[in-house]
Symmetry: C2
Subunit: 162 residues, 2 copies
Amino acid sequence: MRADARRNLDRVLGAATECFAEHGVDVTVDEVARRAGVGHGTVFRRFSTKDALLAAVLSNELDRMLLVARAALAEEDAWTGFSDYFRAAADAYGRSRALLEAKERCRDLPQYEPLAEAVYEIVRRAQATGSLRNDLTAAEVFELLPAASRFPDVILDGLRGT
Amino acid sequence: MRADARRNLDRVLGAATECFAEHGVDVTVDEVARRAGVGHGTVFRRFSTKDALLAAVLSNELDRMLLVARAALAEEDAWTGFSDYFRAAADAYGRSRALLEAKERCRDLPQYEPLAEAVYEIVRRAQATGSLRNDLTAAEVFELLPAASRFPDVILDGLRGT
DNA sequence: AGTGAAACGGACCGAGCAGTCCGCTTACAG
DNA sequence: CTGTAAGCGGACTGCTCGGTCCGTTTCACT
């Protein structure tokens, strides 16, 4: 790959990450291209559709979350592991509008399955010790993330076991 | 106003309420017109822009919420009043995507100011008795509504005072 | 320096949408 | 019953946006 192509690819991915985070999934490809300092034809050469560009950005986010999830499982205290991961995930949602709006889109990504499994285990473990209330499924717990991005302490208080 | 015009106006408002609730603010005017069983020219004769149509629908929702808020203030127990209103509001958010997506749009409506005042008083009263945690402003409390529409009990647990 | 392939980007296309317009239809007063 | 103004709806316009194409530029290897 030519050096200029590589540089432009990086710029496009960076610009897309920022644009999707700030303006959500409805941001135009033109806006991404402008921020990257390239023509929008260049964006479409690397990512055949706007959806492919979004998928690439989401993919990076999921990769990062998977690392955090693995670290949470390594933590010996179940509640500490859960709340660490929960706060990190809430923070990610708070930083990116796209993550909120494209939650559904993430299900098709290859990273989704392993992340879902790790997260399920984080929740199961915390519920088994009684530190996390057990009247919610793992999926339900993570539907609280948007709210938790603004007020993590309130939500974590609500989630504590009896 | 002619009888057929009146009937069509009602149909359009009803269809718009349903469409905005189900599909959010991006639903097309054509879709609303189709559901109402009229041409879309008819919609635009009554509501000069799509935004005016949305405003009319949101207006109705705010009217309903204002009644509920007044009832909550009439309740003698502060926490009961608060949680009654909070549950009702969460329920409204759960039923309507438009309410979530157009929260900002509501600020310009005439009903907003009186509703905001009533809601502020509901929160202030509950915080004064210590039943509602007081490290959040009224506005912040109601940022939790989207999450509360799914899991009211979790959120209310998190909101209870010490 | 010269050359060929890779990369670029803006002109262009088509779809979908908000909003307009006008010839046709229909309710209702007299 | 009839005249007419209110009401109707679909064809049309203008604009935005995703995606394509191709003439021009740039890289990198010799």
